[in-house]
Chain length 431, copies 2
């Protein structure tokens, strides 16, 4: 059973603070091992990749890169209905992310200075895809489609295939998303290869995609050499619901994040104690039907909560303190609560919007900030695969207008040559 | 003397690769010390801050926070001309960053799904300002103004004041930029206080601003608890210039980055060997006049280069491989070269645009990606102080249109409750 909190009960603040500071994830200390693997890949390249793959994945592939025929063959084994659903999902994800593409701008200001910026795509992006259970075809789309929309030309997927086994739908997703190269390698060694390159793998500029503790540690290590996405923690859902909801719907929503991982967290905020009871009963009736009962049970019992509030409006400050990855506003008119939300990765509005549509088909990205990071960061988007260059152009007149202040400030900061570079242009001829 | 490379000479590729991989920065290994300091501040709060300030800054302040009167008193000591220049610079920086403010969007698609996103500012941002020589008032503006433009309400500055000494213009800049709180504390302890809070300092959501190796290491450590900006490396300039430039102007531009730090890098790409010679002569004539001759000399001799290319167009791939922080296109028509640039932090167009105007008064941010990070990242902007929340709203009809694909994919991924949360809405009533 999830913990029960009552905002009006004594000791609520302590109990809520405890919920906020729950240390749900304990990462093993793998830094040393990971640094060793990265150094090995830097030194020995493909040879290291093959040996490490033999060691960790239990077989030695004939080649690291999958040929187009191999990819086609694997993708062809996927359930055709699922492939069709993926293709439709990709269309919706593409359409949403295309609208995120920012504009280039240029203008001339009152002093005659031409200013602006220009967005350009990254040249090459690496996409890490986990093997085994955590290998989600939907995540291939959610990471790869925004990169393609941004205009990234090289999109390089790495995926471990333990004992040579692979999830066909992952390869179907890679084809749909427009991945340009796939390598059968995983772990810290795959991250190292993407960052520094080997004879087989030309290095990329940024690495995205989820992974285990070794992959996460490797991404931290290579950050700077390449860009990385944020480090994703276990999934979370916060449902704000009045008493007029179907308790089975809300129960299923809460369980849908609890089933991800024993470290996941589901929270219900409601102003109706009887409804809270009905949801609890529904969860207990439902949880045994899941093929992932044990995981779901652990997440629900250990990390989750039902919070009773005097009114949903009064509960909204709790929403902002939790800053959830996923927020459902399951009420008749969610627009009344929406302005009160400051921090959330994605908001699902109204009774008919289960969080799961956002995981697969709605269009927005399902890679979202976890562990309260929605206070300061956003989900993955087209912007993550573009970078912005500032543009500045002065004429003779413009530098005369704005230059003297620059020289004054440079002198004040003790930077003589800065000032000199301006003064010369105020005094001398350009040729 | 900077190294000379000729794109058409034998061995060029090796020499250029060596330039690219120059390890200009050697960070001391401070991780252990920094982790100790952070743990101490977490455990003992203000007491730790006071003791560490006494230890590192050589005095024990009566209070950590500066009162409004203290700030006014300090700011009043600044050179009035410089304060006026700063105020005008702030206006220009504000105007540029205001145009970066992104739009909220909402639309309904063909399936009746309402989609969109909403941008909201961070609640609170911490701004690290170094003490001593590296304390640049211009950097206070460049970090604080975008946060204020984004709508951040709490803007908390920390600045060490060794032996109680402070740079008045930094406090004037803080007032101009709209900083809301200032604390006299620096180093890893200041970063820890901003991330975790103490009795005196309420924690923030993101920490920005430059600092030494201890500050950088502390930011890495607290990342996740709060957001951080990118870790800035030593400054760089790349000037692409034809033979028609005034060599003194280009020499001053190259020296203006070399004077920052012995690890800085200045590179000239030109198609005119005689012009390269004139620039070299001008640099040698100029370098002794700088009050920072020793720093400038080290950066120019050890890290810098003049590269002769057969034509400027043919040199542009080298520009993209260098992916410089600052790029000047000092030619008659920079628009001809501009489309060939893919990677640069900021581009300065034409003969009359010295990089230094961008450092102070042009308007774009001077916090820019260094060490080839322009391949995958952008300068600081208003966007760094906002986060985007996805919005999704389905009606009964909309979830019927897109829900079945979500259920198919959830089943395929073994996530039963995900599918169930959709199926219930296709089958049951909402109340």
């Amino acid at each position: 059973m999830a913990r029960r909190l009552d905002m009006q009960a004594a000791g609520f603040e302590t109990a809520f603070a405890e919920l906020l500071s729950l240390k749900r994830e304990s990462s093993p200390e793998v830094g040393e091992t990971v640094r060793g693997i990265i150094a090995d890949v830097q030194a020995r390249g493909d040879q290291a990749l093959l040996e490490l793959t033999e060691k960790f994945d239990g077989y030695r592939p004939a080649s690291l890169r999958l040929s187009a025929d191999e990819i086609d063959e694997l993708a062809a084994k996927a359930n055709p209905e699922a492939v069709a659903a993926l293709a439709r999902a990709a269309d919706r994800i593409r359409a949403y992310h295309a609208l995120q593409t920012p504009q280039n701008e240029r203008w001339e200001d009152e002093e005659g200075v031409v200013l602006g910026w220009r967005w350009t795509p990254l040249d090459a992006v690496g996409l890490y895809v986990p093997g085994g259970l955590a290998s989600y075809p939907s995540s291939v789309l959610m990471n790869a489609v925004p990169a393609k929309v941004a205009g990234v030309e090289r999109l390089v997927m790495v995926v471990p295939t333990p004992k040579g086994e692979a999830n066909p739908l992952v390869f179907a997703a890679a084809k749909i998303a427009g991945v340009t190269e796939i390598y059968r390698v995983g772990g810290a060694q795959a991250v190292a290869a993407l960052a520094y390159g080997t004879d087989s793998i030309v290095p990329v500029d940024k690495i995205v995609g989820p992974g285990n503790a070794w992959v996460a540690a490797a991404k931290r290590e290579v950050f700077g050499q390449v860009g990385i996405d944020s480090i994703a923690g276990p999934s979370e859902i916060l449902v704000v619901a009045d008493g007029e909801n179907n308790p089975d719907w809300i129960a299923a929503d809460l369980l849908s994040q609890a089933e991800h991982d024993p470290s996941s967290q589901s929270v219900l905020i409601t102003d109706d104690a009887a409804f809270a009871g009905r949801v609890t009963a529904s969860i207990e009736a439902m949880i045994g039907k899941s093929p992932r009962t044990k995981i779901t049970r652990a997440a629900w019992d250990d990390n989750s909560a039902i919070i009773l509030v005097p009114s949903l409006e009064e509960g909204m400050p709790l929403v902002n303190r939790l800053a959830p990855e996923h927020l459902e506003l399951a009420v008749e008119d969610p627009e009344l609560l929406l302005p009160l939300v400051r921090h959330a990765g994605a908001i699902f509005l109204g009774r008919y919007t289960p969080e799961a549509v956002g995981d697969y088909v709605a269009g927005p990205d399902h890679v979202l900030p976890t562990a309260r990071a929605a206070r300061f960061s956003s989900g993955l988007s087209t912007l993550d695969f573009l970078k912005r260059t500032s543009l500045i152009a002065c004429t003779k007149e413009a530098v005369r207008a704005i230059g003297p202040d620059a020289a004054t400030l440079a002198d004040e900061e003790g930077l003589w040559a800065h000032g000199e570079s301006v003064r010369r242009r105020l005094e001398d001829e350009p040729h």
